[in-house]
Amino acid sequence: MGADDKWAYRDSGPVVRPYALTGGRTEPTGGEILDLIAVIVASGQPAGADDPIDLSPEQRKILSLSRRPITVADAASDTALPLGVVRVLVADLVLQGRLTIRPRRPVGEQPSTDLLQEVLHGLRAL
């Protein structure tokens, strides 16, 4: 299944329904919708803990990708899974204690001027 499934007919949809991977659930358990750039990171599990038999290949892939902190959007892109599916899988992994969501600044609170200046300098240097 490529990342750019061609639909045979307008209404047929992908061959494998994406939400089959989530047992048909389209909303994350717990109900909280993760932001696109929420940063996730694998919890400090002992070595070899990333292949427990109760995990699907897709969940293992997400765990493996998030050994370093990554965003939910990157996880979806790297697994070639739809964003909604990744959100459900991530929420399950969080509930199982295998993934942690990095706290991010509250929505009303702006990033520091320092950090934005750093972004500005970085952009100019590109």
Binding site: D11, Y19, L36, I37, A73, P111, L116, Q117, V119, L120
Partner: protein, 207 residues
């Protein structure tokens, strides 16, 4: 810090920023994201919620409960701990329900304007004004399109006096980069003057 190498960046927590790229269909969103960032494939399989039913023409597709949306998504790595993420907003009416989610926690937005169809960017301008999300209007200079002075475009769009409107060529990385720089400068400039705001005062010398 200036242009000093960001040594010790590995010790710093990952800071990620979201910038939206909006505008009417064909205004150059995909081109812009591709010119300035590392494009990443991203799709979403959205459930057709009751919010989209009524907006979406479901005639003849009664059994369809999800819809695939390919998203414009790009990443700019400023430093190993500093990433900018660009998301194109879906242009079609039926995906309006995705905007709130996209705008959640966003730093700001670029509204791409095509002078041949200026009206197409009204909804984006309205949306960001209502949300009080800092944005700039980038007038994409298409070949053969009538050339307007940004000042005229400002009037046509009834922009707030402080909202920048600048010309760009979304195909050119340098031009697209300049748009992002203008946006960040605008965000910094719209902050309350002095150090009384909730943000820490800059420790570095402003450029």
């Amino acid at each position: 810090m200036g242009s000093a190498p960001s040594d010790g960046a590995a010790d710093r927590p990952l800071a990620v920023f979201k910038i939206l790229v909006a505008g009417g269909f064909g205004a150059g969103k995909t081109t812009f994201v591709g010119a300035v960032s590392e494009v990443r494939p991203l799709r979403t399989e959205e459930a057709l919620t009751s919010a989209s039913v009524g907006l979406d023409d479901l005639n003849g597709v009664d059994a369809k409960t999800t819809t695939t949306v390919a998203m414009d998504f790009g990443r700019i790595t400023i430093a190993s701990h500093l990433m900018l993420y660009l998301f194109g907003t879906p242009g079609q009416e039926r995906f309006w329900f995705m905007w709130d989610e996209l705008a959640y926690g966003a730093l700001g937005a670029v509204v791409l304007a095509d002078t041949r169809r200026l009206g197409d960017c009204f909804p984006s301008v309205d949306y960001f004004e209502k949300r009080q999300l800092p944005f700039i209007v980038a007038i994409n200079c298409f070949d053969g399109a009538p050339h307007y002075d940004p000042a005229d475009v400002r009037i046509a769009l009834d922009l707030d006096p402080h909202t920048p409107a600048v010309l760009c060529d979304a195909r050119q990385p340098s031009s697209a980069k300049l748009i992002l720089i203008t946006l960040i400068e605008h965000i910094l400039a719209s902050r309350p003057a002095g150090t009384s705001g909730p943000w820490p005062a800059p420790a570095t010398t402003p450029a």
